[in-house]
Subunit: 410 residues, 2 copies
């Protein structure tokens, strides 16, 4: 069966490489040979072993009826969205690794795929090569999913691991990540949490059946964390991790957030270090299950794309009922400030007495070498809005609030 | 669509419960109602809410053409094997959680299923509710699987966790596991490694495409481990876990073993405690991915069975190409004694000098409160047969070898 690949960047060249270097194994497993007929890219690749397959004209793919499956690995929304839509409307199944596309256009593209009786698949969009979409959708199909929480971005996890294990400051750890190729020159998508946000949107849609748009999700990055915070977390018996989390609430709404969280060392997600990802899913029957591995990288991600292509080819005339509804009701996502939390708070000029006058009894934290004027604590559980108001009261009394981090409840 | 359940024990009653309590959710996801038409059990369940569905006659299921999917959750080989075979031959898809059946008859039953264009599925046979069969088979389909290693038995992992964390002896930890319902009155299948052995056989067959029979696998349990060994492992910077492991060797043969292993604390499997399971799979492209969760229990396991049933119903006329060859070539499984290992060894009356005269330089281990006459070490890497011969030499010199444990290389 003929397929096409749109985009010949990191992942796209990996997809071509896997399909070209393993054709017998793949053919044996799909019971059908998979031939890359076209590769779409605006750049020239004269030295590529598949130089003859390249085209700069999308219509060479769109109008070729022999191409039944199209891989979209261009990234971004434009022109990826337009191309994918046209492919689905032309009755071609589409496989993508593009988390931004799925997080912002997933519901619409799934509906178009359903209408045209083809498949739209995106295992590689979350967790790179880690199986997670299909396991949640198929293996846990008898469960109601209660919550999903994960370390969804390897770059920030690498930076936090360096801060935790090597006492390296944020800026140095980021520079090291850039040097090693884990972080881009403009690291905002990673360190500000946007990448993790797109992934938790996809997981929430899959878990609860309704699309969630990234702009609906309160998202905080890791740029304001310091070694002092890491040290307090250590003495508390835990670590700070960037977590994307979503939960089904009792009233049918969901909570969803991306932010650093303090995790106790007994939490399985706390053991996930370096560039690894871990996605913890709570099912109504299975309780917690977790998927772990390298969440990015050329060949891991490409291999997940190829697995989806193989599934499309094997089931070319069968619809996989992967589907979620579109949803523009703003009340579906509960206000994060209305959720109850415990907050870790590091202050200058705070003290037990003045803090407890405002918060009631708090858990006082310690760390080696803390200056006299530093005071850190964990608030009692309360609605976040109220906790923020109390911090405001403290500030009005001359206490400087340096960092706040939510205590994770995974 | 009508289905039948053979066996109304722990898992079987869970399957019925899930199908009866969630019919709308399940029907929405499969696009078809699933009706339990018959439940086979020799016992009477007059107070069951589905008392009218029970039968003691297998033919009520076999000859009912409206029953297209049959769940086998009786356990054991007889009569499960015979019933499953007849169902497949009658063009019914079969879903099972029976690891003994899959590990001993899997290749044959898969072949019969293929011949009759129906499905034979067994997600629940490894890892209970943890997704593992489908992720390896589908999500990692573009990879060659290089190795699989896992904590595959929750009972022994609970016992070892109690030994490690609470300094509880093996017998006490086993008694506690029995009291809590984690271990059976006759705990042999768990503590002697047979349960883990069946699971690693299934994983090896799935990963490498050829059936491996349990009797081909060198299997050791945890009954000879002591608190002294646990303590040495701790001082070495690790823990002892019961591991099932299989690797593809360069010559096309495989290694496969079930035994306690010393794991460094940096190994992700070392973080898996209590009744949890973890299965680490190394793919040629993905590198290590791990699946984690509760590996047993009524509802987690039953939910995995129901997910397979839903998959069968959704694809009732589509074959899933899950398949492995039968294999009776004894040379396919390499002799474990020919593999190279490092061994942890605890002795009475050993000493650095006498041990190093036989082994060359060894890594000497320490623990608090060790008696003068105790000496523990880790051998250099060598073929296991040679290491065993050297231990024999030591014994001939009056050194008593109390415990040996392989050092894990996951």
């Amino acid at each position: 069966m003929n397929v096409a690949i749109m985009g010949h960047g990191v992942v796209g060249s990996g997809v071509a490489e896997i399909l070209y270097t393993n054709p017998e194994t793949i053919a044996k497993r799909t019971r059908e040979e998979i031939v890359v007929k076209r590769i779409l890219d605006l750049r020239d690749f004269p030295d590529s072993p598949y130089a003859d397959r390249f085209t700069k004209d999308f219509n060479d793919i769109l109008t070729d009826d022999s191409i039944r499956v199209v891989v979209e690995v261009m990234g971004g929304i434009h022109p990826a969205y337009d191309f994918v839509k046209q492919c689905l409307e032309a009755n071609k199944s589409v496989v993508t690794s593009n988390k931004e596309l799925v997080a912002t256009k997933g519901a619409e593209l799934l509906a178009i795929a359903a209408e045209h009786n083809v498949n739209f698949m995106f295992e590689a969009s979350v967790g790179g090569g880690i199986p997670v979409i299909r396991p949640i959708h198929q293996c846990m199909a008898a469960n109601n999913i209660l919550s999903v929480a994960g370390i969804l971005n390897g770059t920030t996890n690498f930076i936090l691991t360096k801060m935790i294990e090597d006492n390296m400051g944020f800026a140095d750890a980021l520079a090291l990540a850039q040097k090693l190729g884990y972080a881009e020159r403009n690291p905002s998508a990673d360190v500000d949490g946007h990448d993790a946000c797109r992934k938790i949107c996809i997981l929430a849609a899959l878990a609860f059946g309704k699309h969630v748009y990234p702009e609906q999700v309160h998202t905080e990055g890791i740029t304001s964390l310091t070694l002092e915070d890491v040290s307090y977390a250590h003495d508390w018996g835990g670590v700070i991790k960037l977590i994307g989390q979503t939960k089904m609430l009792d009233d049918g709404r969901i909570s969803i957030i991306v932010c650093p969280m303090l995790l106790k060392n007994s939490c399985q997600l706390s053991t996930i270090d370096d560039v690894f990802n871990g996605i913890m899913v709570k099912g109504s029957f299975t309780d917690d299950v977790m998927f772990y591995g390298k969440g990015a990288g050329k060949l891991p991600t490409a291999s997940a794309v190829v697995a989806d292509v193989m599934d499309c080819v094997k089931h070319i005339d069968t619809r996989k009922y992967l589907f979620w509804e579109d949803n523009h009701d703003p009340s579906y996502v509960a206000d994060y400030l209305e959720q109850s939390v415990c907050l870790y708070v590091r202050t200058e000029k705070g003290c037990k007495d003045c803090v407890e006058k405002v918060f009631g009894p708090v858990e006082v934290l310690t760390r080696d070498g803390a200056p006299e004027t530093e005071f850190a604590f964990i608030t009692p559980r309360m609605v976040e809005k109220d906790a923020r108001a109390k911090l405001q009261t403290l500030e009005e009394q001359g206490v400087e609030v340096k960092t706040t981090v939510r205590v994770g409840e995974i």
